[in-house]
């Protein structure tokens, strides 16, 4: 087992990848940076006791992001009356994937981001989310298919626009 890095090295190595993941999930870069920084703040006082600091910080950052997003959604729900938003996050963006991700249900989006951006195994995603591995596989399958479809649609639309121009 490799030596545990010191905190500064760990911070330097993990801040950006975690921020990318949380940005992909929330669609809000400032919010992603906030929760990742907060996760590091919680890790620092217990640094000496963390066996797997990367997994620990990732879990805390995702917990915070999910919690904040749910709170924001509840607030949105209250201010908009009875209208329930199916999925969170940003509207269409200049990057096609953001719009495609925003269209996914929360759990599917989380599974896809963890799988593709964080290289987290299905077993770890199951442990993180408290779901069965079969459920995670189902989320991944459906999420991947939906993303691929959306991305393909965007390509088709783009190519049609080019042809008609």
């Amino acid at each position: 087992m490799p030596d545990k890095p010191d905190f500064a090295e760990f911070y330097a190595a993990w801040f950006r990848p975690l921020t990318h993941q949380l940005f992909a999930h929330t669609g809000d870069l400032a919010e992603a940076q906030d929760v990742v920084q907060e996760a590091f703040c919680r890790a620092w006082p217990r640094w000496s006791t963390l066996d797997d600091p990367g997994a620990w910080v990732r879990r805390v950052a995702w917990n915070l992001a999910t919690s904040r997003w749910r709170r924001a959604r509840r607030l949105l729900h209250l201010t908009r009356g009875a209208r329930e938003e199916h999925s969170a996050g940003p509207g269409p963006d200049r990057v096609a994937l953001r719009a495609a991700l925003a269209s996914l249900p929360e759990r599917q989006r989380q599974a896809v981001v963890l799988f593709y951006l964080a290289d987290v195994s299905i077993a770890e995603i199951a442990e993180l989310t408290g779901a069965a591995e079969g459920t995670v596989k189902s989320w991944l399958h459906r999420g991947r298919a939906a993303l691929a479809l959306r991305l393909a649609d965007d390509d088709v639309t783009a190519s049609q626009e080019v042809r008609s121009a």
């Binding site: 911070y11 620092w44 006082p45 217990r46 000496s48 006791t49 999910t66 994937l97 495609a100 951006l117």
Partner: protein, 246 residues
């Protein structure tokens, strides 16, 4: 692009997405982490010290003899048939077996991290014209945690005294409430004024932990909107937890 297998197409899109924002990511830095933690510790220390002052003030008031009663001279107590109870000059939590003139400890909470005692209760006020007894014995209870390793100590513990302390951990639930996960109780005595313990925390959803004194009721569930789950004077130390994902 359309000919790519879906998974590769998705991977490419993720790479494109992260590449598009990477130059905008601004890590606040390790210094900011340390400064935030230091500030929070100071704030917690201040909050706990304020609570300790309030508790000590209440105890001090309770120790004052009532104005409409004659003062009790400890050096020459009146006959038993006419005397007031000795506990008039003792803190209200003194057990019946305590000897007159031997004050009870006042467990004073301090902040985690082994900081300095926030406050020591002043000695009981002696009525004018009475003989001073021996100096009161006061105890300070402190707790510090490093990760899950917890040290609770009192100093000094007065002879014959026992100070009940306990630690408790909670597991965060999906609805934001906290479910009791583990707890343990210890007695600090003059012979054993310090105990070490390991906080047992949920492996999935780490909630807050508390070190308590004086055996307050421990709720099995803390509602999500609970602000003060324990009487402030009962909390020796505490730390917030994280929020559960699922």
């Amino acid at each position: 692009m359309l000919d790519l297998p879906p998974t590769d197409r998705v991977r490419d899109a993720f790479a494109e997405l992260t590449g598009s924002v990477d130059h905008l990511v601004r890590p606040p830095g390790v210094g900011s982490v340390r400064e935030t933690v230091r500030r929070r510790r100071q704030r917690r220390l201040g909050a706990t010290a304020a609570a300790a002052v309030a508790v000590a003030g209440v105890i001090g008031l309770a120790q004052l003899p009532p104005l409409d009663r004659p003062a009790v001279d400890l050096a020459d107590p009146p006959p038993a048939a006419t005397t007031l109870a000795p506990s008039v000059l003792l803190p209200p939590f003194a057990p019946p077996t305590a000897a007159a003139g031997q004050s009870r400890p006042s467990a004073t909470p301090t902040a985690p991290g082994g900081g300095e005692p926030a406050y020591s209760a002043p000695p009981p006020t002696q009525p004018v014209g009475t003989t001073n007894g021996p100096p009161p014995c006061t105890s300070t209870v402190t707790a510090s945690a490093k990760g899950t390793e917890l040290v609770i100590s009192a100093g000094p513990v007065c002879a014959g005294d026992e100070i009940a302390v306990s630690w408790v951990t909670y597991e965060t639930q999906p609805d934001g409430s906290q479910k009791l996960f583990a707890s343990d109780r210890h007695l600090l005595t003059a012979a054993r004024p310090r105990v070490t313990a390991t906080l047992r925390e949920s492996p999935k959803c780490v909630g807050p932990w508390y070190v308590l004194r004086a055996d307050p009721p421990i709720p099995s569930t803390l509602p999500a909107d609970a602000v003060e789950p324990f009487p402030s004077g009962a909390i020796v130390a505490s730390e917030d937890g994280e929020i559960c994902l699922s």
